[in-house]
C-alpha cells in the first residue's frame, strides 16, 4: 500500500515537474522573444540613421511572418515523423497527418517559434542598408518555413530518425542549428547583395560608422538577457536534476559572454590602440553564440575558454571578412553567428566533460561536431543561395542607387525614422 502510495507520489511529482518545466520553458521563450528587440537595436545602432525604419520593419516582419509560417508549416516539417532522402526531409509533416499542425504542446511550439524567428533575424543585419524590402520578406518567409525547420529536424526532435542526434552530435541550444545556419545564410546573402555604396572605394574598406552606440549597447544587454532563456530554456525541463542543469547552463552562458567581452576588449585594445566599443559588444555576443552549443556539456572553465577564444576570433574574423574578403556585413553577423557558431560547436570536441579531447575522450566527438556543424553551414548556404539567386534574377535583391543613397526609409517606407534629427551623414 505504501508502495502504491509512493507510486502515486512519484506520479504527482512527475506531473508537477512537467508543469514547472512548462512554466520555465514559457518564461524562457518570452525571454527569447525579447531578443528580437535586441537584434533590432543592435542593427539600428550599428548602421546609419537613414535606414533605421527599414531595419525595424525587417525585424518586426521576421517575427510576424516567422510566427505564422512556423506554426502553419515549419513546426510540422521539424517534428513530423517519416523521413526521406537519407533523413534529410521529414515527409509526413505531422503525426496528425495534416499540414497545418495543431499541437497541444503549446509551450514547445512557442519556444521553437521564437528560435525560428531568431534564425531569420540574423540575416537581416548582414544585408542592412541596401536590400529590397519585398525581396527580404520573401526570403525571410522561406527561411522560417523551410530552411530552418529542415535544419532543426536533423537534430532537435531527439528521435532515432534525426540523423545528427543518432550520430552523437551535441548542440544544446543551437550554436549550429540556429546561429551557424543564420550566419551561413547571412554570408551568402551579403555576397549576393553586394556591399553598400561607399563601403569599398578603390579596393579599400571604408568606415561607415553606426549611428547610435547606445542603441547597440542596449541591444546587446537585451540579447544577453534573452540568452539566459535561449540556453537555459533548452534544458526543456525544470525540477530535480534539471534545475541544476538549467541554472548551470545559465552560469556557463554568463561566464562565456563576460569572457568574450573581456577578450574582445583587450585584444582589440592591443591591436588598434583604443578600447573599441563595437568590438567589445560583438565580443559578448560571440561568447554567447559560442557557448550555446556546449553550455550543457562543458564546465565553467570550459565556458571561460570558449568565451575567450570566441571573443578573440570574432575580432579577427570581422576584420578579415571586411578587409580581406571585402564582404560588407555592417553588424558582424557572419562572424558573430556564423564563425562563432561553428567554433562553439567544434570546441565541444575539446571541452566536453564527456567525450571531449581535453578530457580524454579522443577525437571521435570532435569529428562528429565538425562534420555536423559543416553540414548545417552547407545546407543553409546552398539553400539560401538557390533562393536568393532566383530572387536576384527575378525581382532583384537591391534597391536602386538613388534609393540606397537617400535612404531606404524614405523610399521604401515614405518617411524618416528621426525626422527632427539633422544628421551629418553624407548621404
Amino acid at each position: 500500500m505504501i508502495v502504491q502510495g509512493q507510486e502515486a507520489i512519484d506520479k504527482a511529482i512527475e506531473t508537477i515537474n512537467g508543469d514547472m518545466g512548462a512554466l520555465w520553458i514559457t518564461i524562457a521563450a518570452i525571454l527569447v522573444f525579447f531578443m528580437q528587440a535586441g537584434f533590432t537595436l543592435v542593427e539600428i545602432g550599428f548602421t546609419r540613421s537613414k535606414n533605421s525604419g527599414n531595419i525595424i520593419m525587417k525585424n518586426i516582419m521576421d517575427l510576424s511572418v516567422g510566427s505564422i509560417m512556423f506554426w502553419a508549416v515549419g513546426y510540422a516539417i521539424m517534428y513530423g515523423s517519416d523521413l526521406v532522402g537519407g533523413g534529410f526531409f521529414r515527409s509526413s509533416p505531422s503525426d496528425q497527418g495534416y499540414f497545418f499542425f495543431s499541437a497541444t504542446d503549446w509551450h514547445n511550439l512557442f519556444f521553437q517559434t521564437v528560435f525560428c524567428a531568431t534564425a531569420a533575424t540574423i540575416v537581416s543585419g548582414a544585408i542592412a542598408g541596401r536590400t529590397k524590402f519585398s525581396t527580404y520578406l520573401i526570403f525571410s518567409a522561406i527561411l522560417t518555413t523551410l530552411i530552418y525547420p529542415i535544419a532543426g529536424s536533423w537534430y532537435w526532435p531527439f528521435d532515432d530518425d534525426a540523423w545528427l542526434n543518432t550520430a552523437g552530435f551535441i548542440d544544446f541550444a543551437g550554436s549550429s542549428v540556429v546561429h551557424a545556419v543564420g550566419g551561413a545564410a547571412a554570408l551568402v546573402a551579403a555576397i549576393l547583395v553586394g556591399p553598400r555604396i561607399g563601403k569599398y572605394v578603390d579596393g579599400k574598406a571604408k568606415v561607415i560608422p553606426g549611428h547610435n552606440m547606445a542603441f547597440g549597447a542596449l541591444g546587446v544587454f537585451i540579447l544577453w538577457l534573452g540568452w539566459f532563456g535561449f540556453n537555459g530554456g533548452s534544458q526543456l525541463a525544470w525540477g530535480g536534476e534539471n534545475t541544476v542543469g538549467a541554472v548551470g547552463v545559465i552560469i556557463n552562458t554568463n561566464i562565456a559572454a563576460a569572457m568574450g567581452a573581456i577578450a574582445a576588449l583587450f585584444f582589440s585594445w592591443a591591436r588598434y590602440g583604443k578600447a573599441d566599443i563595437s568590438m567589445t559588444l560583438n565580443g559578448a555576443l560571440a561568447g554567447l553564440v559560442g557557448i550555446t552549443a556546449g553550455c550543457g556539456a562543458v564546465n565553467t572553465f570550459g565556458a571561460l575558454f570558449i568565451g575567450l577564444i570566441c571573443g578573440i576570433v570574432v575580432v579577427s574574423s570581422i576584420e578579415f571578412i571586411d578587409k580581406k574578403l571585402k564582404i560588407d556585413d555592417p553588424v558582424g553577423a557572419i562572424s558573430v553567428h556564423g564563425v562563432c557558431g561553428f567554433l562553439g560547436t567544434v570546441l565541444i570536441g575539446f571541452f566536453a566533460l564527456d567525450g571531449g579531447l581535453f578530457y580524454g575522450g579522443g577525437a571521435k566527438l570532435l569529428w562528429v561536431q565538425t562534420y555536423g556543424s559543416l553540414a548545417y553551414i552547407l545546407w543553409a548556404a546552398v539553400a539560401s543561395f538557390i533562393v536568393l539567386f532566383i530572387l536576384k534574377k527575378t525581382i532583384g535583391l537591391r534597391v536602386s542607387e538613388k534609393e540606397e543613397i537617400e535612404g531606404l526609409d524614405l523610399h521604401e517606407h515614405g518617411m524618416e525614422a528621426y525626422p527632427e534629427h539633422i544628421s551629418s551623414q553624407n548621404n
Binding site: K402, L410, G414, M415, S423, S424, N426
Partner: protein, 112 residues
C-alpha cells in the same frame, strides 16, 4: 577674396569634396540645412500622403582668394550636378578680410 556658398545634395558631397581636394581647395566648412525650392519629395505618414519642398541639403562655405574662384565654381558646377531639379545653388560674395586664429595671420595667408 571671395566667399563661395554652395547648397548641394547631401548625396553629392563626397564627390564634391574629392574634386575640391584635387584642385587644392582643402579648406571649407559645411553643415546641413533644409532647402526650399523647386524639388518636391513624397512622404506618407499614418494615412496622410504629402509632398514637401523642405529637403535636407548640405551648405558649404568656402572662402577662396580671387584667383581660385573660377576653378572652385567650375568644380562645384560639374561635380554637384545630377541634372535633376534640386541640384542646388552657388552664391558668390565679397570678403573683406580673413584671419587664421592660430597665427593671427590675415589676408590670403588667413584663408587656408
Amino acid at each position: 577674396m571671395k566667399k563661395v556658398e554652395a547648397i548641394i545634395r547631401k548625396s553629392k558631397f563626397d564627390e564634391v569634396k574629392k574634386a575640391l581636394h584635387q584642385i587644392e581647395v582643402n579648406f571649407f566648412s559645411y553643415w546641413d540645412v533644409t532647402g526650399v525650392g523647386n524639388e518636391k519629395q513624397g512622404h506618407v505618414y499614418r494615412g496622410i500622403s504629402y509632398s514637401t519642398s523642405d529637403i535636407q541639403r548640405r551648405y558649404l562655405v568656402i572662402v577662396v582668394s580671387d584667383d581660385f574662384l573660377e576653378r572652385t565654381i567650375n568644380v562645384l558646377l560639374d561635380t554637384a550636378s545630377t541634372g535633376n531639379v534640386g541640384d542646388g545653388k552657388i552664391f558668390v560674395s565679397d570678403m573683406i578680410e580673413a584671419y587664421r586664429i592660430r597665427t593671427k595671420e590675415s589676408g590670403s595667408a588667413g584663408i587656408n
